[in-house]
């Protein structure tokens, strides 16, 4: 069994989520002799070539046929295999959506779906290759766990946790290197948010690559003597309701950050908890329900306002709002 201590900071810190996944797969392949990796003509793009080299018999490439890919995974799972179905996020969540829902989630088969190149990471390729809907789609399926690791190091931890988890899991990965935010000792648990920065004035909750942006925003706020708590909410479902509750009760409000549509993703999930239990203002930073356009991922995030400056401004608005109510 691959143990968390084998996932060293030194070993994974310099890898982005996609590359870390590729490395972790090899270790998992050794630990789980029934683990199969399935791809749809994108073995190298999803970094499964290391696994393919080590365990050629356990890499199944079905060609560009994602619906068949997912159903085949169901068949393998019924026969006792542990399928890791890996492809681009937009086809895993949309082209094969019904198969994920009806063949994996509904019968609760132990299949893991990994969507790479998520968010706007495919920048210049345009909307057809962006994926700003996958969190919304996947979390709306019963029996599906949804995890969005923040960096390469956390991806390795998440991959391990996913392999040990009994049931369907969707893991959302990026494309390029994500700045490291997880290089400290914490216990990765599906469903438990990670406090990456302590604070008390306002809370910033982010997932994936946006966690780094939130930490940068916290620095901007600190320079103005404003203290922000930053949470890495890697598991969107089941969401850490406790962490949200505490943020709502203990700070001025929550700014959620994600490279995903503001409808249906992390921000929506947080709003659901807040609305039911512990009202506090929530500002959602994300893709503002438009198709982003073309450009590098960085330029697109700038264009859409998914930046540390925008996050900090939203946080200041919440702090001001609380002050004006208290007066």
């Amino acid at each position: 069994m691959m143990q968390p201590e084998h996932i060293t900071i030194a070993g994974f810190k310099t890898l982005g989520s996609r590359d870390a996944y590729g490395v972790a797969l090899v270790a998992l392949g050794k630990a789980y002799p029934n683990l199969y990796v399935l791809t749809a003509d994108c073995t190298s793009s999803v970094r499964a070539e290391l696994f393919a080299k080590e365990f050629p018999e356990r890499l199944i490439n079905v060609g560009i046929a994602e619906q068949n890919l997912v159903s085949i995974a169901a068949g393998l799972a019924i026969e006792g295999k542990l399928p890791f179905v890996t492809g681009f996020a937009m086809v895993m969540s949309m082209r094969a959506c019904e198969q994920v829902r009806s063949d994996i989630a509904y019968p609760k088969l132990n299949v893991k779906i990994i969507g790479t190149h998520s968010g706007l990471s495919m920048g210049p390729s345009g909307t057809s290759h962006h994926c700003t809907e996958d969190i919304a789609i996947m979390r709306s399926m019963a029996n599906m766990t949804v995890v969005v690791p923040a960096d390469g190091l956390e991806t390795a931890r998440a991959a391990y946790a996913m392999a040990a988890w009994d049931g369907p899991v969707y893991m959302r990965l990026g494309r390029s290197f994500e700045n490291t935010v997880s290089d400290f000792d914490y216990s990765f648990e599906l469903g438990k948010a990670v406090v990456v920065r302590e604070g008390s004035d306002v809370t910033l909750i982010a997932c994936g690559e946006a966690v780094f942006s939130a930490l940068e925003a916290a620095k901007i706020l600190a320079a103005e003597n404003l203290s922000s708590r930053v949470l890495n909410m890697h598991t969107i479902k089941p969401i850490d309701q406790d962490a949200i509750r505490r943020a709502a009760l203990e700070t001025a409000g929550i700014v959620s950050v994600e490279v995903h549509n503001i409808f249906g993703g992390l921000g929506s999930a947080i709003s659901e908890v807040v609305a039911e239990e512990c009202l506090c203002p929530v500002r959602k930073i994300g893709v503002p329900d438009i198709f982003a356009g073309t450009g590098t991922a960085e330029l697109l995030r700038e264009k859409l306002g998914i930046t540390p400056k925008a996050i900090a401004n939203a946080a200041k608005t919440l702090i001001e709002l609380k002050k004006s109510r208290v007066r």
Binding site: E57, A65, N68, G75, I78, Q99
Partner: protein, 277 residues
């Protein structure tokens, strides 16, 4: 030999008739069902479960059993009648059809009904799952077979052809797919909606070994199933020409009986007609 074969065929025909009676009764008690598509494949299903497949109804997860996936999931109650006749569960369970969270379902549920390998219902999925199971068997060098029944209307779905290409590519000669070619879908004759012919040539060009049979001629069904795999290294396709609603005279050949309900008078008449054969 001939005598034994005749006995085999007669007993399978009798079994199929009893299953048709169970189906008609079950749908009557449950106030409706997919008569058309459940009745047409009964002869093929009977041959599979009572002659061809290695199974153990008392041990539905027998490791080296042959597997069957009902890809045309709306024939679920038809499959359930076959499974109960084979002994997977008591016949009384059929009376639960139509009640809340029953073990007899309009579309198969692998967690509720013993003998059901996979939950299906949406067309075009089951055959792909069957490909996955056949692939797993090849990977582990296991000798059991994987059977799947698809509808001819179902063959409109693109994923069916994804499965077809994959099965041929991976040389899955342990996979046998039967098409219930009853020539009708919900809106009418499939030749009017989306023509499939030449269907045999299509499967052949996708790398399958294909045979076409009369899906109600038990001898032809048995002889054909006895010959699988038709060619080593190729998956097998049996296109079974059937009549939608076969066995319920007032429904035979009518697309309007894709889903319907029977009055008590018509149900009793139907049972008598089957007994009179």
């Amino acid at each position: 030999m001939l005598e034994n074969q005749d006995l085999l065929i007669s007993s399978l025909e009798l079994q199929a008739k009893e299953i048709r009676k169970d189906l008609i009764t079950t749908f009557f008690k449950g106030h409706g069902g997919h008569f058309g598509g459940c009745l047409s494949p009964i002869d093929v299903l009977t041959a599979l479960y009572f002659h061809t497949m290695k199974i153990d109804p008392k041990n539905p997860k027998l490791p080296d059993r042959d597997r069957f996936i009902l890809s045309k999931g709306h024939a679920s109650v038809g499959l359930d009648c076959v499974l109960s006749a084979a002994g997977y569960f008591p016949k009384e369970w059929l009376d639960k059809y139509g009640s809340l969270d029953a073990p007899i379902t309009t579309h198969p549920d692998m967690h509720r009904t013993p003998g059901v390998e996979m939950s299906t219902g949406s067309l075009g999925h089951g055959i792909c799952v069957a490909v996955g199971m056949a692939l797993a068997a090849k990977k582990d060098n296991l000798k059991h077979r994987v059977f799947s029944l698809i509808g001819d209307g179902e063959t409109d779905e693109g994923s069916v052809w994804e499965a077809a290409m994959t099965a041929a590519h991976f040389k899955l000669d342990n996979l046998i797919v039967i098409t219930d070619n009853n020539q009708l879908s919900m809106d009418g004759p499939i030749c009017d909606i989306l023509s499939l012919e030449p269907l045999e040539e299509k499967w052949q060009s996708f790398g399958w070994a294909v045979r076409r049979i009369d899906g109600h001629n038990m001898k032809e069904i048995v002889d054909t199933l006895d010959a699988i795999p038709f060619e080593p290294g190729k998956p097998s396709q049996i296109i079974a020409r059937t009549i939608k609603g076969k066995g319920l005279k007032l429904a035979e050949g009518l697309s309007s009986w894709h889903y319907g309900s029977l009055s008590e008078v018509d149900m009793q008449k139907a049972i008598r007609e089957l007994d009179g054969e």
